[in-house]
């Protein structure tokens, strides 16, 4: 197990989704994973894939070269950053010609890259490297009674060819098991594998919000206490945009959205402030109240 990682935050988290960052840092610290900040990390390149794939690759390679220089593997929190960096790391390891081309482009900013650099999503590190047993041992409080729905999103699992099949795409279970270890009940549901619609937002807002609405509507019927996500983009779609969705479709959901490390942090006895639970658009209070009423025994 690698115990130190360069923490890759990407564009969305630092200014808009600090609660995910706060809770991830706190949980990593509790589990003995050292997260190192490399201040030069910038955009992963993913958003530029629509405009120009090669340029997107240059941006990913720039970040990979920074981690290589620091001698660290990368820990990501955003699923899209994970796929962008992992794909490029693998592609450049296999294709010497492309690696040479990328290095020509990187030389413009006096950087170079040999690779490969290991890239892992934080949830995958928890699943594969820390393991359920160690997490169970770190838990001090049972979340029994909470019904939580895992949202895998897209790029945490796909494209599967770059992820060594650590979790089967058509029947994923890592997030459900990481929820179960806290004593909470992971809920199975129809639209579990569905995309949040986040990357359609720029092309067609209504379609994007309709995609997110579909899952919220199903979960409302299933009486879950919260949706659990591992990507800031998914978080923005379901939490920050939930009120716009309610307005657009004239329905109410009021479904709290938690980041996986917030769930784990609660089970580790961390407080609301440490986990950033007060900075959600949809109030997380009902979850906490339910826990106080029926949870720890």
């Amino acid at each position: 197990m690698d115990t130190a990682y360069a923490l890759f935050l990407g564009c969305t988290i630092p200014g808009r989704v600090r609660n995910y960052e706060q809770s991830s840092r706190a949980v990593a610290d509790r589990l003995g994973i050292k997260l190192v900040d490399l201040e030069e990390f910038a955009c992963c390149g993913f958003p530029l894939n629509a405009a120009d794939h090669q340029v997107a690759e240059s941006l990913a390679a720039r970040n990979l070269s920074l981690a290589e220089e620091a001698g660290l593997p990368i820990c990501t929190l955003c699923s899209s950053c994970t796929s962008a960096l992992t794909e490029v790391s693998r592609h450049l390891a296999e294709d010497a010609h492309e690696r040479e081309e990328v290095n020509t482009r990187l030389s413009r900013i006096q950087r170079g890259y040999k690779g490969p650099v290991k890239v892992r999503h934080f949830a995958r590190i928890l699943w594969e490297e820390v393991g359920l047993d160690a997490i169970r041992k770190a838990c001090t409080r049972s979340l029994e009674g909470l019904r939580l729905a895992a949202h895998y999103g897209c790029h945490y699992l796909k494209p599967s060819e770059v992820y060594e099949g650590f979790d089967p795409v058509e029947d994923p279970r890592t997030l459900d098991e990481l929820i179960r270890v806290t004593g909470a009940t992971p809920v199975d549901y129809m639209s579990k594998k569905q995309c949040c619609g986040g990357s359609v937002l720029g092309a067609d807002e209504r379609t994007a919000l309709e995609m997110a609405r579909d899952k919220l509507a199903e979960l409302k019927e299933m009486e879950v206490d919260a949706l659990v996500v591992v990507c800031p983009f998914c978080g923005v779609m379901y939490d920050a945009n939930q009120k716009s969705i309610e307005k657009m479709f004239e329905e109410t959901f009021g479904l709290p959205v938690l980041y996986l490390p917030q769930v784990l942090g609660l089970a580790m006895g961390m407080d609301e402030k440490t986990l950033g639970l007060k900075s959600h658009v949809i109030k997380t209070q009902p979850v906490l109240e339910k826990l106080r009423g029926e949870g720890s025994s």
């Binding site: 629509a50 494209p159 359609v200």
Partner: protein, 191 residues
């Protein structure tokens, strides 16, 4: 006069049941797409529709139909595919690519089509906007002093407000995002 002009729009996405005229086709288009990174395997498609059946965008937006888009490419319908930028509706969720029995890298094909459309100046407004931000700041959500203060308050380390070196890696994009494409080719929004 207005209505006449409207019905004769040559680049309109082909309507259901409309006959494809040979004169509309560009026989080189499949080769052009296959030459883009990710587009290589497009000819393997045998139109089974697995991609479309599982597409989460298709459920809510009928203009986005991966099987149809691939067929249009293979028929050489270059204008219809690239000038109406509905390819930008692709969420890049990879559901189709994971399930394609022919191993067509459908998400990558859509990416290749987006890249070709961008080179023609057809894209949603968000793209030049993102390019501009990345060229100037290296991030889509640049932080300012106030953000860093909030970060400090939340016990988080302060971060750089801009990464100026990133701009040099965007030089292949030419003037995209510099506001020059605006007047001549107003970015279209998908219908």
């Amino acid at each position: 006069m207005e209505t006449e002009k409207d019905t004769e729009k040559p680049n309109e996405t082909i309507a259901e049941g409309q006959i494809v005229e040979e004169a509309m086709l560009d026989p080189d288009f499949p080769r052009e797409v296959a030459g883009e990174p990710g587009g290589e395997g497009i000819r393997r498609c045998y139109a089974c529709g697995t991609c479309t059946a599982g597409c989460p965008v298709r459920r809510f937006h009928p203009a986005f139909n991966p099987r149809r888009i691939i067929r249009m490419v293979l028929l050489g319908m270059r204008d219809q595919v690239l000038k109406e930028p509905f390819v930008f509706l692709c969420a890049t969720c990879y559901a189709c690519q994971e399930r394609c029995p022919q191993g067509v890298r459908i998400s990558d094909v859509m990416r290749a089509l987006k890249n070709l459309a961008v080179r023609l100046g057809n894209m949603p407004d968000v793209i030049p906007l993102q390019v501009k931000l990345l060229r100037e700041k290296g991030t889509l959500y640049p932080l300012d002093e106030f953000d860093n203060k909030k970060r400090t308050k939340a016990g988080l380390p302060t971060l750089l407000e801009a990464h100026e070196d990133v701009g040099a890696l965007l030089q292949e994009l030419g003037d995209l995002g510099r506001g020059k494409e605006g007047s001549e080719n107003p970015p279209e929004t998908p219908q």
